[in-house]
């Protein structure tokens, strides 16, 4: 394999991988405050993209404003979801809550289909389509946007979790909800915040990906599945692991598609993930849970 195609695979892998990473971050944030996997995470990603398109067409406020509106709207959807379907039954068992999130994801898909049909939509690229040539590889400017914004979001989240009181409180209630409540942290507020935050992160991922891959009502399923895979691969509950898991998954797919076959790229990626899980049963950066006797 020559340097050019190596670079090409790496670039496309990192691009796709960082959106997986953002989806995975969304899973991680909600998992950390509630202990459940939110099956509607992929729908947040889908909503980010499709709402941006919708706002562009309806209001025509210019791309940046449409994007902002889409992200805000999706964050509100996250808030609504928590308020209406999670908070009323917050003491239910994890599996029940997970089925509730499956119901929410089906409903959101149904609503999008009702309003905007099954068509495929495009969003204009943030800064043109003229490819950049680098050491023989061709990179679309949107790729750089995706990478850049993903890095910024990651850095902001890191700052949020380690520097701000609110972020630290959120981490605290993931470790020990009862203790968090005892020291005066409102777990309810943290759960609500986590749904908004992960909807936000998902929407950002959706918005930046859409100019590259287009969107439709059902893209969330696959993105959600990849995001879940990424956060398991990195080690559930570890935000850094989730982001890294996303990048690894993206790179695996890109090289699988480039070197073996694009039809089997997902299969190759998942075979590798299975192998890694058998080698490290708590993911790459996860802490093995030790059962206390």
């Amino acid at each position: 394999m020559d340097l050019a195609s190596l670079l090409q695979f790496l670039a496309s892998g990192l691009t796709v991988g960082s959106t997986y990473g953002l989806a995975a971050l969304g899973f991680t944030i909600i998992f950390n405050t509630t202990g459940i996997i939110n099956f509607a995470q992929g729908e947040f990603v889908m909503l980010g993209g499709i709402l941006a398109v919708v706002f562009m067409h309806w209001l025509d406020p210019g791309l940046p404003a449409a994007i902002l509106l889409a992200v805000v709207a999706t964050t509100l959807v996250g808030l609504l979801m928590e308020r209406l379907t999670i908070r009323p039954v917050r003491n239910a068992s994890a599996i029940n809550l997970i089925i509730v999130t499956i119901g929410v994801s089906i409903t959101i898909r149904g609503l999008v289909m009702l309003f905007w049909g099954k068509d495929t939509y495009v969003l204009p690229a943030f800064s043109g389509m003229a490819p950049i040539h680098l050491l023989g590889a061709t990179i679309i400017p949107q790729s750089l946007w995706i990478l850049g914004i993903a890095v910024v979001v990651l850095a902001l989240l890191k700052g949020f979790f380690s520097r701000t009181i609110f972020g630290r409180a959120m981490l605290a209630c993931s470790f020990e909800p009862r203790a968090a409540r005892l020291v005066g942290i409102s777990v309810e507020r943290m759960v609500m915040a986590s749904f908004m935050l992960s909807a936000f992160v998902g929407a950002v991922g959706g918005v930046i990906l859409t100019p590259l891959t287009m969107t439709s009502y059902d893209v969330g399923v696959l993105l959600g599945m990849k995001g879940f895979a990424a956060c398991i691969l990195g080690g559930l509950g570890n935000p850094f692991g989730a982001a890294a898991g996303g990048l690894i998954l993206g790179i695996l797919e890109a090289f699988g598609a480039g070197l073996v076959s694009s039809a089997y790229k997902d299969a190759i990626a998942f075979v590798v993930i299975l192998g890694i899980l058998l080698w490290k049963p708590s993911g790459l950066f996860g802490v093995p849970d030790t059962e206390r006797v």
Binding site: I37, T85, P88, V100, G110, A229, F270, V271, L274, S282
Partner: protein, 321 residues
């Protein structure tokens, strides 16, 4: 034994209901075929309930196991013209074998990690169904699966297939009920609650997990064979991630660790979309909303809801529950 008798009464009632259903539906073949499908799914759900509800191990790969059996019998009888018995036995056998090979390493994982690994397995199998076009016919499906024939009797009518499928449901139900009232059932529930305590009682956890995983794959395999020869056509889309998630939903919606509930969940989730057809565009939304509301207000599923209702009725009429 009186306890056996008490167990058998609902089973007998169930049998009568199954026998009567075609007459109650006035032989409406459309509804009969939907209920046949529901029965096929109920068989998988019964096995999955043993795995998830009793042993506490999740699988998002049962859609794929179901598919392996369906494709195996399809290819053997359809492409190679082998006898149906060979197709059926190899379908179930291969499914069990694959489950064993996958289960041995994968069942060491826990919770979401197990979910991920079985999901990955399901996805890989799904991609194989799509891409191995020479064998499976690819995304457009496999046509020309022969009609089921047992000892010269041809199951070519909806009525006969309905009875065949639901007798299999009854067999699956009875064997599952028997299993949970045995030392194996106790061991599964024990390892669900505390693996530490279970192994300290001499229960080989890994072996019991593998056993229930393979057993549930046998149920899925039987369902797969019935499915293939009922529709005479299979396509990969029936065996994907969506279907695996739907199976889990059937178990939870019916009521975890309730075998009767599982059957109810399978029937409910199969029949409901048919009624929602009338609402065209709203179909998916209503389906989603019903799912949300059921899970929010029936935390123990349909089975739990019915139990609560019964005990309320009994209290009303002054009888001890």
């Amino acid at each position: 034994m009186s306890s056996t008798l008490r167990q058998l009464t609902p089973v007998a009632a169930f049998f009568l209901l199954v026998l009567a259903t075609p007459f109650l539906l006035r032989h409406d073949y459309y509804y009969l075929s939907i209920l046949t499908m529901a029965g096929i799914f109920a068989i998988i759900v019964l096995g999955l309930n043993l795995l998830l509800g009793f042993a506490g191990q999740i699988s998002l790969g049962h859609g794929a196991l179901f598919g392996i059996a369906a494709y195996t019998t399809a290819v053997l009888t359809g492409t190679y013209g082998l006898p149906l018995a060979v197709g059926a036995v190899s379908g179930v056998g291969l499914t069990a074998l694959v489950a064993m090979l996958i289960g041995m390493p994968v069942l060491k994982l826990k919770g979401y990690y197990l979910a991920m690994a079985t999901l990955g397995f399901g996805l890989i199998v799904y991609i194989f169904f799509n891409e191995a076009i020479g064998l499976t016919g690819g995304p457009s499906g496999f046509v020309g699966i022969p009609v089921l024939e047992v000892f010269g009797f041809v199951f070519d009518s909806d009525l006969s297939y309905f009875y065949l499928v639901w007798s299999m449901v009854a067999v699956a139900l009875l064997t599952s009920l028997n299993l949970i009232h045995s030392k194996y059932g106790r061991a599964l529930m024990a390892l669900h609650i505390s693996e530490t305590a279970a192994q300290s009682m001499g229960i080989n956890i890994a072996r019991h997990k593998l056993f229930v995983f393979v057993l549930s794959s046998v149920y899925a395999g039987i369902a797969g064979v019935l499915y293939a020869h009922y529709l005479n056509f299979v396509a990969p889309s029936s065996f994907g991630f969506h279907f695996s998630v739907q199976l889990i939903t059937m178990v939870v919606l019916g009521g975890m660790a309730s075998l009767w509930g599982g059957i109810a969940g399978a029937v409910f989730l199969t029949v409901m979309p048919e009624f929602l057809r009338f609402y065209e565009n709203l179909e998916v939304i209503i389906y989603g909303l019903i799912l949300i509301l059921c899970m929010m207000f029936l935390p123990k599923g349909l089975a739990g809801g019915v139990c609560k209702l019964l005990s309320n009725v009994r209290r009303r009429f002054g009888r001890e529950p």
